[in-house]
Amino acid sequence: MADAAVLPATSAVRRVPGRFWIVPPAALLALLFFYPLVLIVQQAFTDDSGMANVAEFVRVLHARFFLNALLNTITISVAATAGCLIVGLVLGLILAFVPFPGSGVIARLIDTFIALPTFLVTLAFTFLYGSAGMLNAGLMEVLSLHAPPVDFLYSTWGVVLAEVTVYSPFVLRPLLAAFSLVDRGQIEAASVLGARPFRIVRQIILPAAVPALIAGGSLCLLLTVNEFGIVLFIGAKGVITLPLLIYSKAIQESAYQVACIIAVINIALSLGLFGLYRFAAGRLGA
């Protein structure tokens, strides 16, 4: 819309050469991203002799290691997203509606977590909750135990907790934007008329936050399905997700076709979630 206003009425003639300016960056992206993507799909459906073949694809689809990784990926992603929504909502409600001195700085600080590498949190968690970490050392000292009592880190739940830490800022950001649009007068009126905070949250604040929650939540689903660093750094044998499986098949076992097959499924899943996110963000008007 903006460009229609910018260009003068006679620009219909000038428009035509201008259209080709998109070619260089589009060609670069096509060569460096879409062409490799097509080759992954091609390799997934071709056998050693170069013929099209779905037998290997079907075999991997039914293999136990694949189904396990798929189940792990979905479980972790759904649980982490639920956690991000809850943590994001609680933090957002307090930051927006029960502010304290310095809450603006804290909100910015949480926001910078978006730019930090994800594995940082896993590394920190091994110092905090690992078998020789602070929590276990403390508990063993106080309760005079011989074995570390806290043992969730090297399991699915360790990954989920790390992902909640890393990705709840992605829910918090759109939520705070949505909360800033909520009419403060409406809340004060409800409060003066005797509505309890819980009811105000449920009837006034939450309805305004639903689009932001959907957009943030679907972004979290996408990012947690694709998460690699956290799972790699925890390095638990039982916790293998799709990205980790692609890495171990390609780099450790040199099984490139199997890696490509898993990548095709992972990419399809991610693109589906990306579509969901775009749809949600579009409805939000973002």
Partner: protein, 265 residues
């Protein structure tokens, strides 16, 4: 203000402090502490040392810092050029095509980074396009992964630009190239700087694609941190992580100041 009573507010703030402390503050604090620890068998380290940091300045760790900075800078610069170019060029397409292409430029951010690395290995391991085993493949991987973010940032900036300036410029007879260089790009500068900072920060922390494609001799910070901790050298890993955090924060805050000044002036 949602909660009026003072005790109620204090309870709520305590909940916030607990969540914030456990989820965000504790991880950063504990990494900082462990990067300074010489031994850690109990609740707290038995002694503090700066040895891990002095190791960073010498030897292989410094190579990792350099590899990450060079990769981040080149990949972000290329992503900035291509993202800005794409965002500007999309403005003169018709609406439907612009929407479709816009989505295509965003897709790299939705695909798992490990598959981006895998795709590059599959595509560029044979002549004439032999990149596998070179430093260039790391740059390409980072470029692909951050290009969507620069494109997104610059597009968002363009959408917020008031069309008045450009309109005035063209009604005064400025040719498109002149208008672009003297009106549109200067107005966009804060967004360009922010886009560059964010993509540099993302590149500094990139692990999934790098670990698939990196050649020996070009080990970036995250890969180096992983191999250190995997070997059990957790304190050195923590020190390198702090270096990574510091560089990222300096990039973000420094560039934020630059952009802040420019939007104010």
């Amino acid at each position: 203000m949602l909660v009026w009573s003072r005790p109620g507010r204090i309870v709520i703030w305590a909940v916030f402090a607990l969540l914030f402390g456990v989820l965000f503050l504790a991880p950063l604090a504990v990494i900082l502490l462990s990067s300074l620890a010489n031994q850690w068998n109990g609740v707290l380290p038995s002694g503090l040392t700066t040895e891990h940091y002095s190791d960073v300045v010498q030897g292989a760790a410094w190579q990792a810092v350099r590899a990450s900075l060079v990769t981040g800078f080149l990949a972000s610069a290329l992503a900035l050029i291509s993202g800005t170019w794409a965002a500007l060029a999309l403005r003169i397409q018709d609406a439907t095509l612009a929407r479709v292409l816009g989505v295509l430029f965003f897709i790299p951010s939705a695909v798992p980074s490990v598959s981006v690395g895998l795709g590059l290995l599959v595509a560029f391991s044979h002549p004439p396009l032999l990149l596998n085993g070179t430093v260039a493949i790391v740059m390409v991987a980072h470029f692909v992964l951050i290009s969507a973010f620069t494109f997104g940032n610059v597009s968002a900036g363009l959408a917020r630009l008031s069309p008045d300036f450009e309109q005035v410029a063209s009604s005064l007879g400025a040719r498109p190239a002149y208008r672009l260089w003297h009106v549109t790009l200067p107005l966009l500068t804060p967004y360009l700087v922010a886009a560059f900072g964010l993509s540099f920060a993302l590149s500094m922390g990139e692990l999934g694609a790098t670990v698939m494609v990196y050649p020996p001799g070009w080990v970036t910070l995250p890969v180096s941190i992983f191999s250190l901790t995997d070997r059990g050298d957790v304190f050195a890993g923590a020190a390198l992580t702090m270096v990574l955090v510091a560089v990222t924060l300096i990039l973000l805050l420094g560039l934020e100041r630059v952009t802040g000044r420019q939007t104010r002036s």
